[in-house]
């Protein structure tokens, strides 16, 4: 009896559709989120993540509808992130059918938001998403905002420790150095975060080859998340799970 390592596809959504592009540029329509969610569910996704990258409030309103339709048809956990600013936003998403929500910039701007969400809904709903890169800070890693373009001035390990203390139940660690490079996850950073994190850690950013995922798990990740390699059909979730199993990790077949 071993807790299975999770493989999580991430869908960027805007205006009710899945969009894909490189570094949020040249976005193309990639279909209906519910249909893709179903497809990933059948391929063995252990959870689904929707990242709302809507640019306007009108577009954002459609996300609740997507969450509703997905929760009605796909019976695996669903995490929704992007644009969450208050505990009330969280309530709406949970009532619509989300199981977890992720916050990033809003928590940096106002760390009390972490406490407010966790106190009301429990820490199991709250994923703290951290966009980190190598820098000259205490741990050697800093937290960025605006998709990695700006420094927040926070040290990554110190921020994660604070986030957990305030009530984050899981850490989504996005390597901004590795993101989009397809050269593998930032193993050194993962190891550093695993060492100080008392909650599960999801590795994100840099997946390019099937073998990258096992390396992230070996470095201590409890779950691995990827977007483009799954969307563009480089390989499937099943392929990744097969490789993890071959490397001796427990998976859900």
């Amino acid at each position: 009896m071993t807790l299975a390592k999770r493989v999580i596809p991430c869908l960027d959504v805007a205006g009710g559709r899945v969009v894909k592009g490189v570094n949020f540029k040249d976005l193309v329509d990639a279909g209906d989120p519910v249909e893709l969610a179903k497809k990933y569910g059948l391929e063995g996704a252990d959870e689904l993540t929707f990242l709302d990258i809507s640019a306007s409030i009108e577009e954002r309103a459609t996300t609740l509808e997507i969450v509703r339709r997905t929760a009605e048809q796909v019976f695996i956990p669903l995490t929704v992130g992007g644009g969450i600013r208050s505990a009330e936003n969280v309530n709406e998403l949970l009532r619509a059918g989300a199981d977890k929500i992720s916050i990033n910039t809003a928590a940096i701007a106002r760390p009390d938001l972490i406490n407010e969400i966790s106190d009301r809904f429990g820490n199991q709903v709250l994923v703290l998403s951290v966009d980190a890169r190598r820098a000259d800070t205490k741990s050697g890693f800093e937290v960025t905002t605006h998709g990695g373009r700006q420094s927040s001035g926070l040290d990554t390990l110190a921020w994660i420790e604070e986030g957990i203390r305030r009530g984050a139940g899981e850490i989504l660690l996005n390597s901004m150095d590795a993101d989009g490079t397809k050269s593998g996850f930032d193993i050194e950073m993962l190891k550093a975060v695993r060492e100080i994190s008392s909650v599960p850690v999801i590795a994100s950013g840099g997946a390019g080859k099937i073998s990258d995922f096992a390396l992230a798990i070996e470095a201590g990740a409890d779950a691995v998340l990827a977007a483009s390699v799954f969307h563009f059909g480089n390989f499937t979730i099943k392929d990744v799970k097969k490789d993890l199993e071959k490397c001796g990790f427990s998976i859900r077949a």
Partner: protein, 198 residues
Amino acid sequence: MIAILDYGSGNLRSAQRAFELASDEVIVTNDVKKCLEADGLVIPGVGAFAACMDQLVSAGGKEIIAARVAKSKPIFGICVGMQILFENSYEKQESTGLGLLEGEVSEILAPILPHMGWNTINVAQGSKLFAGVSEEHFYFVHSYAAKNPVFGAINSTCNYGEDFLAAVEIDFIVATQFHPEKSGAAGAKLISNWVGSL
């Protein structure tokens, strides 16, 4: 008809849809009459134990459950909805539960919490709930659990750091620490096993 007790606890939409795969009529309600009429009552629950109990009391859920228990009508507790069936919990402070199941709820001894993700179950002999899905993974997300077997019950366990109760079946009470409504095809089968037993 299956009623899902609505007392303001989290994601009820998924639960409703998942039970609809097995039953023609599933309603989400805290209406006393409907909850008593239902063939089965599902008690969901997420978040902190004490907060869940407070919300349950405010919504009149405590009386509804007591009335069903008095008539031995089936109930199904899920996650914190399972935990509150026990006598008490030591989450943050000591809190009193419904006391329908003997025992207490305490923090799991494991280095990384919550216990989050898919795990397998050591299914007890005689379990009707796990018929056909005894080897499958189910989705857990929790940091606390009941650890001692309930006397006279079919106690199925999970291990994460230590053994704890994953599911209890006794008389008209069924409870799972995992989320069958989030456990894909295996969860759907387990739900249909329960609905079929009503």
